[in-house]
Symmetry: C2
Subunit: 272 residues, 2 copies
Amino acid sequence: MEQRHAFFISDSTGLTSEALGNALLAQFDQVEFVKSYHPYIDSTEKALEVCREIDQVFRDTGLKPLIFDTILNRDLRLIVAQANGVLMDVIGTFLPKLESELGALSAMRVGKSHANPTEEKAQRRIDAVNYALDQDDGARTNRYDLADIILVGPSRSAKTPSCLYIAMQFGLFAANYPLTEEDLESGDLPRKLLPYKHKLFGLTIDPDRLAAIREERRAGSRYASIKQCRWELEEVRLIYQRHQIPVIDTTRLSVEEIATQIILRTGLKRRV
Amino acid sequence: MEQRHAFFISDSTGLTSEALGNALLAQFDQVEFVKSYHPYIDSTEKALEVCREIDQVFRDTGLKPLIFDTILNRDLRLIVAQANGVLMDVIGTFLPKLESELGALSAMRVGKSHANPTEEKAQRRIDAVNYALDQDDGARTNRYDLADIILVGPSRSAKTPSCLYIAMQFGLFAANYPLTEEDLESGDLPRKLLPYKHKLFGLTIDPDRLAAIREERRAGSRYASIKQCRWELEEVRLIYQRHQIPVIDTTRLSVEEIATQIILRTGLKRRV
């Protein structure tokens, strides 16, 4: 397979260049990308050093590396533009357009997108993460009044990472409650969830996938058997149906996708 | 303050358009942005509906909304391009450049950047999150052999969200251990951390900020007093110094920034 080097360069965390670059590169199945990440390129020396690395790759491979650059500082961006690469100049492409539209020069301050978040918003996020941790796995169920959303589903259907992602990305209070075998044998929602029925969102997953995940955790157990997984998933399906709880199938979704789709479908407003 | 509407549109989660758009808009202090997010615009009907919303805002305000569009499907992107907005066509700008460079038509599959991640990588991330949860707050210290990194610091210095972010974003195993009053009175690192000294990374924070955060948690307590906070921070400083543990000041950093800077400084390689 053809190999191609890709540089992700930023004068801040680099998460934007990373997200954008990876979205674009994912379109090219037939190329194997050798990725290197260069966050915090915030001085002439560091910019020159990255240029040297790019030039070295070009000399070694004879192919210009791809460069996804979100450096805000104009001078540093111009340095990177001199390297022997194929430049995706994200800021240089869109910022002038925005400036002419908004009729003002931008602040051009490094790291403004993440740095110095208003304290209130930063705190909100940390509160949301702490809430998700406190309320994880049905550990405590006494603060469901504070929840924006409560994820329910069988063990290992991705409730916890989804809650954490919702907390981190949207600043929302997400609790989760595992529907255990005991709950399922009763054939109905646990009583403590009933007052919060309108906050529930159900997770489901393909039985084979669930069995495989559980097998990693407890190999050879009844818990991991396909029979048990099928039974649990069928029982939760009936409960979701009876109470008209919205459902998402997490089998082929990333954590980001699960979280984003849930928020979209509930219509919840993000708080950060 | 001038108001301007901004639309973030995607046929997938929209996290890329969001990251990029917000990074660019953060450059314009003097404008108040009214943001609306439109993920999963994956059909003609949905694309037309967003166009109607954009046109409505234009009619109501007389100002063209800004549009950050990362729709991969060419037909849907062309629909959005017809709306009365100022379009930042992220994919349409860079994808042709990549195609001509890489000498092949892109796959143009919706959601490829997040969807269908290789199972191995998806599982690695979930494992990393579970590890961070298991090893949170010094709860268990018996799996430090598996840790890629162990964050230490006083209570409420942002260890937990930083670990979770490291797990989620980089797929690394991040544990954390709170240096408690008891630990600090002994004047040295807890013995159980000594074998893992090379994995430690120290967190610190401004004493006033720490006191404010603790005050929210336990108002009026000794724990939240500025005197106690100053003492703990001075003690951890001495410990970090004695053992040459690298330190990061989290006071003015977002969780993303803390995580990214730590990974950069340790030189750890991401696993997803």
